[in-house]
Amino acid sequence: MRCIPVLLIKGLNYIFYRTTNDLIFLGVTRQNIDVMETIWFLKSFQHTLSQYVYEGRHHTTEESNSCISKTIELDRDVIMDNFNLIYELFDECVDFGIPQMTNYNVLREFIKVGANLPQTPESHYSSEDDDDDNGDAKNGTKQRSLTKLSHNQSKLNQTKMTSSSNMAKKLALFEISASVNPSILRDASLKYGWRPKGIFYAKNEIYVDIVEDCEFHYDLQTQRIRKNDIYGTIAVKCYLSGMPLCKIGFNESNMSRVHQDEVAAMSLEEEPEGNQLKSSNFPEEEEEETAIKRSRIPLGNINFHQCVQLEEVISDNLIRFLPPDDRFILLTYHVEQQKQIHKLPIVLIEPKYIVHRNQKTLVIQCTLTSNYWKRLKSLKMLVKIPINPHLFDLKFEQDDDLKFKAEMGDVKYNLDSSELFWTIHGLSGKHSVRMMAEFSLQGDCKQSITQEKLISICNNRFDAADDDHHNLHPEDEIDESQRELDEFYGVNGAQVSLLKEIKRNLKRRRHEFNNISIGFEIPLMTYSGLKLTYLRVDEDQMKYTCFPWVKYTTISGFKTTGGNANIESNCNYRFKLGIRCFQLTD
């Protein structure tokens, strides 16, 4: 369980930042300091450090297909191996408790100490020592970094052959050795702290990736959208020489948020009554486009990278920036569709669980409708349909206990999570596909599946008698252990059955079985309709031509593939089941 990041114990304030793999960056103070500054510093420090470590790995494997948010997981071993580097970083990043600079692109110009990484998996293992606190967690991360390593090595051969582009060929104008007085360099670069001088590329390129991550929550019972948000990221990778000034414009009329109210008011007027999705006649594509143009995109919560000249964003509605070298995130934004609630969701699913109680079968019928442009295709779509083990006791004895038929894609039943996986490749827009699956049930369906039980399950209530694991009495526990023993020795007719074991475990977990979730990645489209309309790179001294590349992706639940931005989706596309999704027949 995560604990509050600010603690006061005996007059000392502990401020900490915790990474995903439970590494803790801690700051301690007695004074009333700026906590936000501290935590942000800890976060940036962690980021910088992992960039160092990542770059180190990058060099050792010469892997050119790099990605922006790929932070190598720092773990105990990496940190111990690199204490030297960390000390150097401390020296530069912070002095007297005052953060100085944490920008990797600048720091790497004067901290030349490379990351110290294990070369082979073997040596990695040998570094394990007898420290045994939180052994479990550590083992997990170790395993992961191990696989990552071997992966990189296998890639080594591939990339050597294919690296024909000049993406990573960076020629330094003058070689800076560690002996050169670093402060001359610092002084020169201070005005733009994020970009060192003297960068030169033979071919000048800029890649802009617009990735939109969708958070969607739909209630199938009330048929209303509960949440439809977009978290957008614009990631830029640039290989530009000198001190270029980039200008980027969007089809959005005002990046600053002054006129947002109007937009909100406008779209509110257009909001149809009641169920906004039932209207089966989708608007024509052109119409939709003009609609987007007219009603602007209510971009909110825009956060710019520090290189963006903020005043000009407000005055000219153009994003002007002097980019840092290589990869960075130019801006992030957030669109709340609540303000444009009429907007259709990207995909919509209509499930139907039909229980034939006499035949003891459960039939699941599903219709999936995509709402994006006809000519677009989703790369991969994964629909996870839960089958609540508290309600349905599935039988897997004969081959025909699970049958399915789908117009497109494959269906699998995942025993571990009791979910039906429906994988569809290349679903085009404005298309609707159907799937049907049939399960055999065991036990007395008439008794175990009732309307009341359905209702209580839909309301997330695991209560009363049906829930055998919550009121485990001592006798039951004895039974339980007795059974385990029997199974182990194979006596008393008990059999070791993985299936039973899994089923039992499933039931024991307090797990949500009420959400259908969908993961997808759709290239060439932004759900918000945001488009880059203007891109220009100027370099006063060199006057080179630049090759711009722009890419749009909409994702949810998946990681983007390819491109310069490997952005992992943090969002969910969920459909909450309601009682009307179920149908009981005799």
């Binding site: 995560r2 509050i4 990041p5 600010v6 603690l7 114990i9 007059g11 900490f16 930042y17 004074q31 009333n32 300091i33 700026d34 906590v35 936000m36 500054e37 935590i39 942000w40 976060k43 071993d77 111990m80 690199n82 204490f83 030297n84 000390y87 020296d91 002095d95 007297f96 005052i98 100085q100 600079m101 944490t102 920008n103 020592d129 007085n181 402060s183 002084d187 201070l190 005005k191 994020w194 978290y231 002054v258 947002q260 109210d261 909110g300 919560n301 956060n303 710019f304 520090q306 000249q309 903020l310 964003v313 407000i314 992030t332 957030h334 209580s456 997330n460 209560d463 009363a464 307090r510």
Partner: protein, 703 residues
């Protein structure tokens, strides 16, 4: 190379041998470097034996290798104070480093080390070289010298003042390098914070110059510059407005700290602008969105943002307009973020958005996470008390939740329903009925207290009241004292309302309380009640007298408790004002007066100027002055216990006497109280909603 292997505790003597070996053979430098790495690793391992290597390490300083010297300095930094005599021998060498014209890098790290060691010799060396280095051409050296002043100041205040170092720092505020200026600001800020006789002030000209530096500086420098703007006291509205306009772009910065600090500056400056919401339209929206934008960060940062949002909502409601829907919990938020969001949702809820908030809360109440579900139910009750128009809706939802008979929901509901029926007596009897269906599910003492109170109060409308009472009375002796007290009171009420049924239970309970209980409070209370109800029989007087006595008893025991009202938002305006000036700091997270947590820190106040606006007058109930937390801290040092430090959860107990700031209405102190007692929670104040209404109407105006 695998450097983790250095992390083994090594004996100092072994290292000494290794060093000797290194000097005997070739490749001395690399070998010494390895030894130094081992030493540093042992410093990290906290191996105190390393102190014994002092002479060797001091000797190594003379080696001409930047790497080794750096490590030696690290060593000195860690151990110089442990062996001041030996470490002083390094002084001549260090002095040479500081004077060397060759490598600025060496000067910087040497200065950094020398100034952070409290040994008098080191301090002397630092003080003698700082003035020269402050005027060095290299800005990085100037910066390091500026920081060194701050460090030395901690050790030797007198020498620093004698050498006029602070005045020299002041000169550097006009340096042509942003970095140096920002660092000087930060260090001066630190020094003035430590010293009561010094105050840093920024005049108009300088303030405007600093603002111009903002876009050109790196993120951290921006923070220091923004912080220094807090020291500028605008004399006219115009000045304040110009500065605000210059600060607004920073609200979109990537660095959350820059955003929060510029927010702080804007909030501060807005005190000096007349009718700010009219002058800058769409302004509250802007601040609101910039706050919400920060919520896309990791949970730690979200938490800080949300705590500050609470602060702003309490103090400057008209400046921030937040859309409650943006603050709905995500299912994967950590508990502390969810908690804080719930609090904000509660603060933001009003008649216009209640239709959105309630379904959301209902969803939480059905959450699979029991803790969350309980908190949502709490919020229901609190909202019902806060918003009269929403009470009906809240309670109907509550009733439907109770119907399912899930134990934790029922228990939590019991606590909440009690508050609501006190606020609206007689209005929600159906909920009480519903609750009583599940009287047997209640096990926690908090819930039991509430339940028993409700039963005592409503025994006339309960059908199977005798069964219920027997249920609770049965386990009387096993209950904690609070529950016992509640049962005693309830049982007496029961007797007074329905004497025929209640007599037996009452006598039984009172008997237990007086004879079997070891707790004097309980015994005394039981005795008092016993006297109150039984004096007719003991005096044996005339019938008329006894009925009169009965009536009196009834009027005492069955006296209606004063209705509670929304107890909310009652932080002293002065404290709020102080906290406002400390947005983003630790105090704003604890939501406590700064001097409470940090006894030595200075208090910040708004400096008066012709442009200073008076705070909007608040509605203050007369007679609650003694309730208000006072600004002067109590003589006892702030005692930190976990309970108070954790984010105030909805169920954490409220302690009014310490001057702690209550976060949400917690109406706990009255239960099991007999009538006539002065109710504490009625002494709290309501915050006027006028301000928020004002801001809402303004936010729709366009340019």
């Amino acid at each position: 190379m695998n450097e983790a292997q250095f992390f083994n505790k090594i004996k100092a003597s072994e290292l000494q041998v290794e060093l000797e070996q290194a000097f005997k053979k070739s490749k001395t430098t690399t070998k010494v470097a390895v030894v130094m790495k081992k030493i540093v690793a042992n410093i990290i391992l906290n191996n105190l034996e390393m102190v014994r290597l002092m002479p060797e390490v001091v000797g190594l300083l003379s080696m001409d290798s930047f790497e080794i010297r750096k490590k030696c300095l690290q060593y000195l930094n860690a151990y110089a104070m442990m062996d001041p005599k030996l470490s002083s021998e390094a002084i001549p060498m260090l002095r040479r480093f500081l004077e060397e014209k060759l490598s600025p890098g060496l000067i910087i790290i040497t200065l950094r080390t020398v100034s952070s060691i409290g040994n008098p010799d080191y301090v002397k060396l630092a003080i003698s070289s700082i003035p020269r280095l402050l005027r060095n051409q290299d800005p990085m050296i100037r910066k390091a010298a500026v920081l060194a002043v701050g460090k030395v100041y901690q050790f030797d205040l007198k020498s620093v003042t004698r050498e006029n170092l602070i005045d020299q720092l002041n000169l550097l505020l006009h340096d042509d390098n942003n970095f140096v200026v920002a660092t000087a600001l930060a260090v001066l800020g630190f020094i003035t914070e430590q010293n009561n006789s010094l105050a840093l002030q920024v005049d108009k000209e300088h303030a405007f110059k600093l603002v111009e530096l903002l876009p050109k500086s790196n993120e951290w420098c921006q923070i220091y510059i923004l912080n220094s703007l807090m020291l500028f006291v605008p004399q006219t509205h115009r000045e304040a407005l110009t500065l605000i306009e210059a600060t607004i772009p920073s609200l979109q910065h990537e660095n959350s700290s820059v955003v929060l600090n510029s927010l702080k500056v804007i909030v501060y400056l807005s005190n000096y602008v007349l009718d700010i919401t009219n002058v800058v339209p769409g302004w509250s929206k802007k601040l609101g969105t910039s706050l919400v934008a920060l919520l896309s960060n990791p949970p730690e940062i979200q938490f800080l943002v949300l705590r500050n949002a609470i602060l702003l909502l309490l103090s400057k409601r008209n400046l921030v307009s937040l859309d409650v829907e943006q603050l709905f919990c995500h299912y994967d938020d950590p508990v502390y973020v969810k908690d804080t969001k719930l609090e904000i949702m509660y603060l933001l809820a009003n008649e216009s958005n209640i239709s959105v908030v309630l379904p959301e809360l209902e969803e939480y109440a059905l959450d699979i996470d029991i803790q969350m579900a309980r908190k949502a139910i709490r919020a229901f009750g609190n909202l019902a008390v806060k918003l009269e128009n929403a009470a009906d809706h809240c309670m109907s939802v509550m009733a439907s939740l109770i119907t399912n008979g899930v134990d934790y929901i029922v228990q939590e509901s019991a606590i909440v329903v009690k508050n609501v029926v006190r606020k609206y007596p007689g209005k929600f009897d159906y909920v009480v009925q519903e609750l009583l269906q599940h009287y047997d599910l209640i096990e926690e003492s908090d819930a039991k207290i509430s339940m028993v109170w409700i039963i005592g109060q409503y025994c006339s409308i309960i059908d199977n009241v005798d069964v219920v009472f027997n249920h609770y009375a049965k386990s009387f002796l096993d209950e904690p004292v609070e529950v016992q007290l509640a049962i005693v009171t309830a049982v007496v009420k029961y007797y007074l309302i329905i004497p025929s049924k209640g007599e037996q239970v009452m006598i039984q309970v009172l008997k237990w309380a007086t004879e079997d209980s070891g707790n004097p409070d309980l015994r005394d209370r039981a005795y008092i009640y016993w006297r109150l109800v039984s004096s007719t029989s003991t005096t044996g007087g005339g019938g008329g007298q006894s009925t009169a006595f009965q009536e009196l008893t009834k009027s005492i025991v069955l006296h209606n408790n004063p209705p509670i009202n929304s107890t909310n938002d009652n932080i002293d305006p002065n404290i709020l004002q102080e906290l406002e000036l400390n947005i983003g700091t630790l105090a704003s997270i604890y939501l406590k007066p700064v001097t409470f947590v940090f006894r030595l820190s200075k208090r910040k106040t708004l400096t008066s100027s012709p442009a200073l606006q008076k705070r909007s007058p608040k509605l203050i109930d007369p007679g609650d002055h003694h309730q208000r937390p006072t600004l002067t801290p109590p003589p006892v040092p702030f005692k930190a216990d976990r309970q108070r430090l954790t984010v105030p959860t909805l169920e954490s107990k409220r302690t009014n006497s310490t001057g702690e700031i209550p976060y949400l209405p917690r109406t706990k102190s009255y239960e099991s109280a007999s009538s006539g007692e002065v109710k504490k929670e009625s002494l709290t104040r309501r915050l006027t909603r006028k301000a928020s209404l004002l801001s809402r109407s303004n936010s729709h105006k366009k340019f």
